[in-house]
Structures are given as structure tokens and as C-alpha cells.
């Protein structure tokens, strides 16, 4: 076990690990992130290793199990280095084929290649896949270079050089001014300037200070924090060390939710390894700086992602927010000055220190610098984690990276920022991904969820879905959030079920504005965003529901009628048998009819009809 007691040791160690890497002939990079593990990457890894051992290739070939590459829908993913050959949808049974043909003979096996859904052609190299090439990856690129459970890998790619540089060259004030100059803003959602936060904590009186990494990511469909912490936990640790050095903290916490078992495991291993190497602990790298990190597991409450609720939760109390009139940088955890940043913010810090503020600020817009990781989901061809420079337009993300609409439908809106973000219509797709631009449009960056919706999505239903989520996740402490969200949901449900009255639309708007202003914490303050943004941009859909009792997207069950197109129906009788409510009648080989009185609008017949004869209006 090498123990690093000074900066020179780190350099020697890095050279040693790099030399060791160079001796390897082929590296098979297999993604072992949660997404790929769900598609049985674990068995693939075991099978490949067993096959390598059987064929006696263990000396020359290394299997590197890394964190998420971002293209989870194609998992399990395999990349061969050198050569950058990219395989997807690999199964354990393919191990023998892959080892004997691709690894041994360098053959490219056609059936594992990725097919671009837009052009329909096969792509051999990872770098040539449009999903990857249209992005500007800074942080995610590191994921495939390191094994998350190996500090050696992280040191080999230059890890912990930033903290060494900080301890040698920077005074705390200089770190803060460097971060300020870089223009880094909090990636957790609000976009507060990180340098300013650190400065306030640095100036706050008190000898005991804390830094916290917020990895309590709870937005449906968003997983960039999980990915970063799972794939490269040392990068986050290093960022926290630099932050701790800047504000004068000796202790840090990583608050990660229990539902992320792999992230918890990897973070724990990382902390353990860093302690063993002497990178965490007393007198780090021979300096007078001492720092240690503890992992705190969250129970999975969405509200615990809010800074004050998170801190109360670490303190061992019920995770409920408290009033933030005094900022947490002055009175945070145990009433001590505390810096709380998101995983992605921390992960950016080492790169800023190593490459300089200018390098970081060279990408992005006037007010938002650097890159942002987004979780692209919904009705697009390619989904997954996407890292783009700030200022990239939504159109680029949806059409170039996402590959455009799935199933030939028209894309109607994107929902940014998770449940407390807003829905932006297609007409605003030229908006750049930028904290202020999204905020002004009535949505927000949030932690970076991006859900694409097509014309088969009803915006009233979307608002109802998010309100339902927030009603369950509100802590219930204050009246506007607890009762207000419940009442908004009541109104939206009325509208979706066809009992909506015109005056309810005004009431909904008024209530949403009240909740947004008067709630206690960030959850309540942003909870009405899905309602406010859909009211703003998709008012005609609400009106159609209220005035015409019609759901334009044919989603709201109470407002749609099922019918059979007599020209398309062949009278095969499949729907007749499938209907659990006996609402379909008709003779064989003659068009069938749906009795709308009996029809419960379950949609089973649509799934079974081979002739697209059943229409919903």
C-alpha cells in the first residue's frame, strides 16, 4: 500500500501507473453503471473475464469496468481500446465470439455494432456515433478512463494533481478568486455562483466549518449525479477537498440517497482508499491541511435534496426544511458555516484548478460557463446522459443529439428541470441551455432533467403527473405547499376528468402564484412551475378540456371516445375477444363496433389490433 506523504510521491505514483497501463495490449472497457447492470452487464463482465482466462489472454488484455457512459439504452456497452471500437447490446453468450474474433483477430463483428436510427447505417467507432459526437463532453469523458473502485486508475489519469497544486500554489483566497473567475455556478438547479458561496463561508466567523456534497438526486428520469458519483467518486472527493481548503473546513459529508446502492458503495470505497493512501486525513500531502469525509445515506425523501432539509437530516432529525433567512453559509449544519454543493459542481472544481479559470470560462454563455450534464429522456430516438456546453440550444439537444422524434410524431414540448421545472413549447426550442434564459422562459435548469414530449402527450395530464409526485414528496410542513399543491391537483384532476369550470383556470393561476411566493422552501416555491408554464404556453389545451370537454392529445380517459374505423377493420375478432368489458360487437369478417357506453377506455384493443383500425378522439 503506497502512502502519499508529499506531492512528489504522487507524481512518482502516477508515472508508475501510466507505465503499467501502457504495457497492456488491449483494454476492453465495459460499462458497469446502474443502467448497464440492469441489462446484465455484470454477467457479461464475468463471462468475458472467464473467456479471457480460458484462452490465456489475461496477461495482455485488461477488462476495465467503468461507470456510466451515458448511452444506457444501448447497454451493455463495450469499447475496445486502442481502436475505439464500440459494441452495444452484448449478452453473456457473446463472450466467446467477442474474445476469439474481436480480441484475438481484431475482427469487427457486425451484429454488435450500433445502428444510427436517423441514417440507418452501422457505426464502428464510438467517437463517430452522432449521439456522442454532437456533445461537448468534459466530465463524462473521464468516466470510461477510470475504474470507479480504483484510486490507481484515477491517479493514472492525473487525479489528485489539482489538490496537490492547490496546496502548493494557492492560498484560500486565491482558490476562491479562481473559482469566481471561472464563473462556475451551482449545478443543483438554482445556479448560485459557487465562488460567492465559498467566499461567504470563508468570511463567516467560526473555527468549525463543513462542506457537503448533495447527491440526493430525486427528479424522475434524472441521474447525472448518480452517474458521476458512481463512475468517478474520487473526482468529487478531490473537488470537496479543494472547497474545504478554500473555506477552512476539516470535515465533509457526502449525502447520497439509499436508492443509489452502487453510488453509496463506490463513494465508500473511494473514501476508504483515499484514507489508506493518506490523501484524506491529517496533514494531507505534507501540508497543514487536514480533511476527512463521511458518507451520510438519505432515506429517499425528495425534499431532502433541499439544502436545509438535507442538513437537518444529517443532524439525525426528520428531514424538513427550515426558514433560510440566515443563509446556510453562515448557519448550516449544526449551526456552523456550511458549503453545500451538488455532485456535478464539485466534480468541475479539480478541472478548473488544473486547467485554469480561463479554460473553463471559454465555454458557455455570458452568464453560465462550462458544460452541463442533462438526462435526455422521453419521445426521442436516442436517450441517455448528455453533456453539452452551456448555450447549446434545446433544438440541438433534441434533434442532433436526441435524433429527433420517435415513431414519426411531432415534438411538442420539452420539460426541463424535473418536477419543479416547466414545460417549454417547440417555438422556444432556440433557447440556449443557460440558467437565466430558462428561468426567464418560466422553466429552470434544475438538476438537468430533460423530458421530450410529442403530440401524443396531454399537457394537462403532465401537470397532473408532476403535481401528484410533488404532493407525495412535499414534507407537509407549510400550508401553501401541502394544501396548495393538493388543491391544485384537485383542480387539474377536475379539468382532466371533464368537470372543469372556466373560473377554475383563474383560480389555478392565482393559487399557483401564491404557492410559488409564500411557501417555506425551494420545493414549494418551485412546485407550481409545471402548472404555471403549461398555463402560459398550452392554455389552448386547458381551454379545450374545460370548454369543449375534449382532450386534444387523446390522453385524458374521461374525455376520449374509442371507435372502430370501418374501412380498416377486417373483422378478425381479436379486439372482440380481448375486450374485458364486452363493449365490442360484430360479426366475423365484418367491421366491428364499440359500444361507448360500455367502453372503459382501457386501451387493450388498440394494443391488439393489427390494422390500426381503432381510433381515439
Amino acid at each position: 500500500m503506497p502512502r502519499i506523504s508529499q506531492a512528489r510521491d504522487l507524481e512518482t505514483l502516477q508515472q508508475h501507473f501510466v507505465a503499467k497501463r501502457e504495457r497492456v495490449k488491449t483494454t476492453i472497457v465495459v460499462c458497469g453503471g446502474t443502467g448497464c447492470q440492469a441489462s446484465r452487464a455484470g454477467s457479461v463482465i464475468d463471462a468475458v473475464r472467464a473467456e479471457l482466462a480460458r484462452q490465456g489472454l489475461m496477461q495482455d488484455v485488461v477488462v476495465r469496468v467503468t461507470g456510466c457512459h451515458g448511452f444506457c439504452e444501448q447497454g451493455p456497452i463495450m469499447v475496445f481500446e486502442p481502436g475505439n471500437l464500440f459494441y452495444c447490446h452484448v449478452t453473456p453468450n457473446d463472450a466467446q465470439d467477442i474474445v476469439s474474433r474481436t480480441v484475438k483477430k481484431g475482427e469487427v463483428i457486425d451484429k454488435f455494432l450500433y445502428t444510427d436510427p436517423v441514417s440507418g447505417r452501422k457505426v464502428t467507432k464510438e467517437a463517430e456515433i452522432p449521439f456522442y459526437s454532437a456533445q461537448g463532453r468534459q466530465l463524462l469523458n473521464f468516466n470510461k478512463l477510470v475504474d470507479a473502485c480504483s484510486i490507481d486508475d484515477y491517479i493514472a489519469v492525473g487525479g489528485y494533481r489539482a489538490i496537490a497544486k492547490t496546496l502548493k500554489e494557492f492560498k484560500p483566497a486565491a482558490i476562491i478568486s479562481e473559482i469566481k473567475a471561472s464563473g462556475l455556478r451551482g449545478r443543483g438547479g438554482a445556479g448560485f455562483p459557487t465562488g460567492r458561496k465559498w467566499e461567504e463561508a470563508y468570511e463567516a466567523p467560526g473555527d468549525e466549518k463543513y462542506v457537503i456534497c448533495n447527491a440526493d438526486e430525486g427528479d424522475p428520469g434524472a441521474y447525472m449525479d448518480r452517474c458521476l458519483l458512481e463512475a468517478n467518486p474520487h473526482q468529487v472527493l478531490e473537488g470537496m477537498m479543494i472547497g474545504a481548503r478554500a473555506v477552512g473546513a476539516r470535515k465533509g459529508y457526502i449525502y447520497v440517497r439509499r436508492e443509489y446502492p452502487l453510488a453509496v458503495k463506490h463513494a465508500r470505497i473511494a473514501v476508504q482508499q483515499a484514507r489508506e493512501y493518506g490523501i484524506l486525513g491529517e496533514n494531507i500531502l505534507g501540508s497543514n491541511f487536514s480533511f476527512d469525509v463521511e458518507i451520510a445515506r438519505g432515506g429517499g425523501a425528495f425534499v431532502c435534496g433541499e439544502s436545509t432539509a438535507l442538513m437537518t437530516s444529517i443532524e439525525g432529525k426528520v428531514g424538513e426544511p427550515r426558514a433560510k433567512d440566515v443563509h446556510t453559509v453562515k448557519e448550516g449544519l449544526w449551526n456552523r458555516p456550511t458549503v453545500l454543493n451538488n455532485v456535478e459542481t464539485w466534480a468541475n472544481v479539480p478541472h478548473i484548478i488544473l486547467n485554469g479559470a480561463k479554460w473553463f470560462a471559454s465555454r458557455g454563455t455570458e452568464s453560465s460557463k462550462g458544460t452541463k450534464i442533462l438526462a435526455l429522456t422521453g419521445q426521442v430516438k436516442n436517450t441517455g446522459l448528455v453533456e453539452v456546453a452551456m448555450g447549446t440550444t434545446l433544438r440541438t439537444i433534441v434533434y442532433d443529439i436526441g435524433g429527433g422524434p420517435k415513431n414519426g410524431n411531432r415534438i411538442k414540448a420539452v420539460q426541463t428541470g424535473g418536477p419543479s421545472g416547466g414545460c417549454l413549447p417547440e417555438s422556444l426550442f432556440n433557447l440556449p441551455v443557460d440558467f437565466d434564459a430558462l428561468w426567464e422562459a418560466g422553466s429552470m435548469m434544475g438538476s438537468g432533467g430533460l423530458v421530450v414530449m410529442d403530440d401524443k402527450t396531454c399537457m394537462v395530464d403532465v401537470a397532473r403527473y408532476f403535481l401528484n409526485f410533488l404532493r407525495d414528496e412535499s414534507c407537509g410542513k407549510c400550508v401553501p405547499c401541502r394544501v396548495g399543491i393538493d388543491r391544485m391537483l384537485e383542480i387539474v384532476t377536475d379539468i382532466a376528468e371533464g368537470h372543469g369550470r372556466p373560473e377554475q383556470l383563474d383560480l389555478l393561476q392565482e393559487l399557483a402564484e401564491t404557492v410559488a411566493e409564500s411557501s417555506l422552501c425551494g420545493l414549494g416555491k418551485s412546485a407550481p412551475n409545471p402548472v404555471l408554464s403549461t398555463l402560459k404556453y398550452f392554455m389552448e389545451e386547458y381551454r379545450a378540456h374545460v370548454h369543449e370537454k375534449r382532450c386534444p392529445a387523446a390522453v385524458c380517459k374521461a374525455l376520449v371516445t374509442y371507435s372502430i374505423d370501418g374501412e380498416k377493420c377486417t373483422g378478425c375478432g381479436v379486439c372482440l375477444k380481448a375486450c374485458p368489458h364486452d363493449s365490442i360487437t360484430g360479426e366475423k369478417k365484418k367491421p366491428h363496433v364499440i359500444d361507448t357506453g360500455l367502453c372503459q377506455r382501457c386501451g387493450i384493443c388498440i394494443g391488439d389490433c393489427k390494422f390500426d383500425a381503432i381510433t381515439v378522439r
Binding site: D325, G476, V479
Partner: protein, 231 residues
């Protein structure tokens, strides 16, 4: 020695004791800020949000609850702007729609200018103001009550789910519960709920014209206005 700070509430300069909340200061000088969950001398949790005010700082105003906001030198507070009054009315409307069977809440609704309730009544027995929980913890020092559950499942109960012997039977929780006094017209059954108009007669014309000034209204006794409790 007591230290004082100078704050401005609704344009009037006020000298306030350091460490007190804006709500206590305002009530002390006769500014009416309706409130429900606040009890003098007990820690505030900012649950009911009726006492919201605007704090003007660097030319920008921020809405926040005055009970959890401590006075600071040079602070500028606006407690009865149109925006605040409208939001307060909306919150009072939410409260009275959930629990019409409380005289205190009916009184607050009248004072906040609620004229009609636009939501279906719910007739709940608790509005989770947390007065009982905090009285039990801080005055009786018994900790026999607590909040259980999250969001719509949140309710007040004895933490293990049944009454324990560490309850002192002091009745503090009942005394301070806003639901313990029913409206003058008596208990409303399900389906009979209404906005209680009778209390309107207790509110004189001046009180309606001056929403921001304490007029020692009769309503104060009903909702246990802390100006009454403090004397």
C-alpha cells in the same frame, strides 16, 4: 444589557429588541399581521405562512414569514401591500376550506378578507399548525406529541402510536389547539360547511378599512392573537 436595532415596518421607524422576530415586533407596536401557528415564547416553525411579509433588500422585495425572520439593523418590512394581502387571503381561504369547524380559522378568514370559498370544503380535524407539538415539547417538556408521516400523510400523534406515560396530562395541547373552539353557530356536519358570516358582525367597519393596524378586534380572542396572549 439589551441591545436594540432600528427597523422600518410599513414606513414607520421602530426600535426593536435584538433577537426578536419581525412578527413579535410588529404586534408589539400594533401592526396587525394575522397568524395561526405562532405562540409567544415558543419556537416558530413558519408553518401556516399567514404572517408573510415583504422584506425589501437592495431594492428587491422577498416574501418571507415574519415569525421566523429576526430583526436586523436597517431592515425594511412591508406587511400589508396588495400583493401580501392577496396571498394571505388565499392562504386563509385554503385553511378555512380544509377546516371550517374552527372558530379561530373562521375568524382569521374574516380578518384576511375571505368573502367566499372557491374550493370544496374538507372538514378536517387538524391543520398541522404544530402548536400542540411545540407546547408539549417546549412548555410541558414532555415530547409526547410529534409529527408523523410526510406530505399528505403527515399527522400529529404520540410518536410510538399510543399514549405514553411521559404525557403529563397538562392539557396544553388542547388549550392551544385552534380546533378546540367551534364556530358560534355550532359544529358543522359534512356537507353543511360554510364560511361563517356571524363573526363578521364582530369586526367593525374600521377594521376592514385598516387591514394593517391592530384594532383590538374581538376576533383576536378567537384566534388567540398573540397580542392578547402577551398581556
Amino acid at each position: 444589557m439589551l441591545q436594540y436595532v432600528n427597523v422600518t415596518i410599513d414606513g414607520a421607524p421602530v426600535r426593536a429588541e435584538k433577537g426578536t422576530s419581525v412578527l413579535d415586533t410588529a404586534i408589539h407596536v400594533g401592526v396587525c399581521i394575522p397568524h395561526l401557528c405562532h405562540i409567544p415564547g415558543i419556537h416558530d416553525m413558519g408553518a401556516c405562512r399567514l404572517c408573510i411579509v415583504e422584506e425589501v433588500k437592495n431594492g428587491r422585495s422577498k416574501v418571507t414569514a415574519s415569525c421566523t425572520l429576526l430583526v436586523e439593523e436597517g431592515m425594511v418590512i412591508r406587511s400589508n401591500t396588495d400583493k401580501i394581502l392577496k396571498m394571505r387571503k388565499n392562504i386563509a381561504e385554503l385553511l378555512v376550506a380544509s377546516a371550517p369547524n374552527s372558530k379561530a380559522i373562521q375568524d382569521i378568514a374574516v380578518r384576511c378578507g375571505v368573502k367566499d370559498v372557491r374550493y370544496p370544503f374538507r372538514n378536517e380535524n387538524c391543520v398541522l399548525c404544530g402548536r400542540c407539538v411545540r407546547i408539549c415539547k417546549e412548555r410541558a417538556k414532555a415530547n409526547a406529541l410529534g409529527f408523523i408521516g410526510r406530505g399528505k400523510d403527515r399527522h400529529v400523534d404520540h410518536p410510538p402510536g399510543r399514549l405514553m406515560d411521559y404525557c403529563n396530562n397538562c392539557n396544553g395541547c388542547i388549550m392551544f389547539c385552534p380546533m378546540s373552539v367551534t364556530p358560534c353557530g355550532g359544529l358543522m356536519k359534512k356537507g353543511e360547511e360554510r364560511l361563517c358570516g356571524q363573526c363578521d358582525s364582530q369586526l367593525n367597519a374600521d377594521a376592514q378599512k385598516m387591514p394593517g393596524v391592530c384594532v383590538w378586534c374581538e376576533l383576536g380572542k378567537g384566534f388567540q392573537c398573540s397580542r392578547y396572549l402577551a398581556i
